[in-house]
């Protein structure tokens, strides 16, 4: 622990490493890869923080966590206050500490990063959340008096849980309707156990329930009841219905057997626990040669899942170069450590099946990088005549998805954009209909957990104003 008035000391530039399971062990299990800081390491890492007077890290956080504030509490050894500080603005620290792309957000602007390595903000956030869980005493924040207003939330994913947390604390009556049989949305069906243990997701869901949030599972808003039917009972609705139909490349052979969308592949394994088939009854194939097409976090999750399911060889097929991979650097590193082979500058043009319609080969083109395109990344250009084939017995398409179509299809008067997402005002997350708000993948298509939570936070503030007739 630091002294009252620390002597002016040299800045410690060495960022503390977080222990991980060894690659040769972890490829045989679905347990969490990153093991978290011990107390000693957390305090050492936290002590590196300069406690900037005008911190830049806060600005990089979509939910505006007071980062130097919670880090200071770690240095002081007052972890309970640290947890409280985070929870002022973030209901799901154990999750964000694990899956947020900190290197693109808070850690990107950390002053120490200019010297050598930024503070490991995500790891410290995770440390506090795990400390609180291990203590077993989850604190309930002070709750406002009941307002008598009723709010319905569609989807128990990161956006919906954030809205529920914020609005119940403000005294509103909150009910979540979840389509699947388990809560958590993408945290449950999409992100694998080895990156985000499901026990942690369940813990966070139990927490919002303990605050008084009611949750109905197996309830598909738009189908079981429409949004307009719910509005007969509720004063306001937040739609966080998440991801929808997976995208395919629209190349020949994508409907062959053995070709999966990443959504399907990961849902079989994560939500349905197919990796424990036949104890859990949803089967998942265990092919020996797997190609994953795409370069984002979902692609990494799929490739690393395939490795754990016993594949001999897993290739990641990506059309740009390694520098352009949209996945987090940490996930690419983990994937490579686990033996995933990167086939960069490679574009699938056709999938070839056998006489029983099972995929057997991918035909690809080699690519080269040209001038930067609209995304600022160098455009991949196919090299004429560079076609070649690789043998695979499974292909996972991880190239994104559109927003879920059910609510746009069944809610008249809701403005929808060209990609099928609900149009909202970015400052309020409010839709074209005055008592409907929306956020997360249903607005953005495929986005991140934290941006969905950021939308939820904005929506909750706007909904609160509306419910209290402040506008």
């Amino acid at each position: 622990m630091a002294d009252e008035k620390p002597e002016k000391k040299k800045i410690d530039l060495s960022r503390r490493a977080m222990p991980k399971q060894n690659p040769w062990e972890r490829i045989k299990n679905f347990d969490e890869v990153a093991l978290g800081y011990r107390i000693q390491t957390a305090v050492e890492e936290a002590s590196r923080c300069l406690q900037c007077k005008k911190p830049l890290c806060n600005q990089g956080c979509p939910v505006g966590i007071n980062i130097p504030g919670f880090i200071k509490h770690i240095v002081e050894g007052d972890y309970a206050s640290g947890v409280r500080k985070i929870k002022e603005t973030n209901a799901l620290p154990a999750i964000c500490g694990r899956v947020c792309p900190q290197e693109e957000q808070c850690e990107k602007t950390c002053v120490l990063g200019k010297k050598e390595a930024p503070i490991a903000i995500g790891r410290l956030e995770r440390f506090l959340a795990d400390w609180e869980a291990a203590e077993g005493k989850i604190e309930v924040p002070p709750m406002a008096a009941k307002t008598g207003k009723k709010v319905a939330i569609v989807g128990a994913g990161p956006a919906g849980i954030t809205v529920a947390n914020d609005l119940i604390i403000l005294g509103h009556d909150v009910t979540i309707f979840e389509a699947l049989h388990e809560c958590g949305g993408v945290l449950i069906y999409g992100i694998p156990e080895f990156r985000l243990p499901k026990a942690i997701v369940n813990r966070e869901v139990e927490y919002v329930k303990s605050l008084g949030v009611k949750i109905f599972r197996d309830f598909v808003v738009g189908k079981t009841k429409t949004v307009d039917r719910l509005l007969e009972e509720f004063d306001a609705i937040f739609v966080g219905s998440g991801a929808g139909l997976p995208w395919f490349m629209e190349i020949p052979g994508e409907n062959l057997n053995g070709v999966y969308s990443a959504n399907e592949y990961l849902t079989r394994v994560n939500l349905m626990k197919g990796f424990r088939f036949p104890e859990f009854k949803t089967p998942v194939k265990r092919p020996s040669r797997v190609a994953v097409v795409g370069g984002g976090n979902v692609a990494m999750d799929s490739a690393r899942t395939a490795i754990r399911l016993g594949a001999d060889e897993v290739h990641l097929v990506y059309r740009r170069s390694k520098a352009e991979l949209p996945a987090r650097a940490e996930e690419v590193e983990n994937a490579e450590e686990e033996g995933v082979i990167l086939d960069i500058l490679t574009l699938p043009v056709r999938l070839i099946g056998d006489e029983h319609r099972w995929v057997r080969e991918i035909e690809c083109l080699k690519m080269e990088l040209g001038e930067p395109d609209a995304s600022g990344r160098r455009r991949p250009i196919p090299i004429e005549g560079s076609n070649f084939r690789m043998a695979f017995d499974a292909v996972v398409m991880a190239i994104g998805n559109s927003p879920n179509p059910l609510i746009p299809m069944t809610t008249p008067g809701l403005e929808i954009n060209k990609k099928g997402g609900i149009v909202t005002n970015p400052e309020t997350a409010r839709s074209s209909r005055p008592n409907i708000w929306a956020g997360g993948d249903i607005v953005r298509g495929a986005a991140t957990v934290i941006s969905a939570m950021g939308d939820g936070r904005i929506a909750a503030a706007s909904m609160h104003k509306y419910l209290m007739n402040q506008e």
């Binding site: 389509a179 699947l180 049989h181 069906y189 197996d218 309830f219 598909v220 189908k223 079981t224 009841k225 998440g242 991801a243 929808g244 139909l245 997976p246 395919f248 629209e250 994508e254 409907n255 057997n257 053995g258 999966y260 969308s261 959504n263 399907e264 849902t267 079989r268 939500l271 349905m272 626990k273 088939f277 036949p278 104890e279 859990f280 009854k281 949803t282 089967p283 029983h356 319609r357 099972w358 998805n401 879920n404 179509p405 059910l406 299809m409």
Partner: protein, 277 residues
């Protein structure tokens, strides 16, 4: 948890399954399906709705026992509970005043064609119902269907009831009865829906089929239920399950449906002896 009100084998291997699910009953429409999980380890399996009662809040489906999950459904007794019974999912069958409609049912589809026939009748159509089974002892709900149909026809493979033969006899039966349908709607096994579509195509009888692919979430997220319709990929859970039978790539659909056959049957094996495989 959802309470099982009734689960009985109505004909060999086909079960009538009624569950208390008031919210589903309230919104159920002909052509919808529900997704059920027999227990906490269970798969999510889609079943077409065959009937519902808004007053008692119950929904009835008919399922065939084929694999591990349906075997576990088949062991449920009234009063048991199941963890998931969610719906109604999918677009409902379009009900309009078409004129003369031929409703074809087979297997579990004899059940799910019933609410379709009933709604078509109420909408003022002339409704003819044709049921197909291997033998007369596999037919059920004939009386229910007769009440909502202008006339009912039966084809059995062994000739124990109605016309002897296959579903291919449809044009002949219709011709003899002097019926030219404006629309044919088929609910049944994939093979039956495919055969009817192939037979009606040269006759230019518009044919709607209620597709039954493998599903997981059933809400437009996972994409496993995709099929090619008119050369385009469609998702049965949100774009269907009803599609124009003349536009479907049936070979692809059949192959995709069979992709988990080994895993479906594996859990049923109680012996590891090779000769039992």
């Amino acid at each position: 948890m959802y309470k099982v009100i009734e689960r009985r084998m109505i004909v060999p291997n086909l079960h009538e399954f009624t569950v208390e699910a008031p919210a589903v009953a309230e919104s159920a429409k002909p052509g919808n399906f529900i997704i059920v999980r027999p227990d906490q380890y269970g798969e999510r399996i889609p079943l077409s709705v065959a009937d519902w009662d808004r007053d008692t809040g119950t929904v009835t489906t008919i399922f065939m026992q084929v694999g591990g999950s349906t075997a576990r459904l088949a062991r449920l007794k009234p009063g048991d509970t199941i963890p998931t019974f969610v719906g109604p999912l999918g677009k409902e069958t379009v009900i309009d005043r078409f004129g003369t409609v031929l409703c074809v049912g087979g297997c579990y589809g004899i059940g799910s064609i019933y609410p379709i026939a009933r709604a078509l009748k109420q909408a003022g159509n002339k409704v003819y119902t044709l049921l197909e089974a291997r033998s007369s002892f596999l037919l059920y709900w004939e009386d229910k269907l007769a009440k909502v149909s202008d006339r009912t026809f039966v084809i059995t493979r062994d000739g124990t009831k109605g016309r002897k033969g296959h579903i291919d006899k449809i044009p002949e039966i219709m011709q003899r009865a002097g019926i030219t349908p404006n629309l044919v709607i088929v609910n049944g096994c994939t093979f039956q829906m495919m055969r009817v579509s192939m037979i009606t195509k040269p006759l230019a009888w518009k044919t709607i089929v209620n597709m039954n692919p493998i599903m997981i979430d059933g809400t437009g997220m996972c994409g496993v239920c995709r099929l090619s319709v008119g050369g385009k990929t469609k998702f049965a859970c949100v774009d269907g399950p009803d599609f124009d039978g003349h536009e479907i790539d049936w070979e692809e659909f059949l192959a995709r449906r069979k992709s988990y056959n080994p895993e479906e049957v594996d859990p049923l094996r109680s012996s590891s002896c090779r000769s039992h495989y």
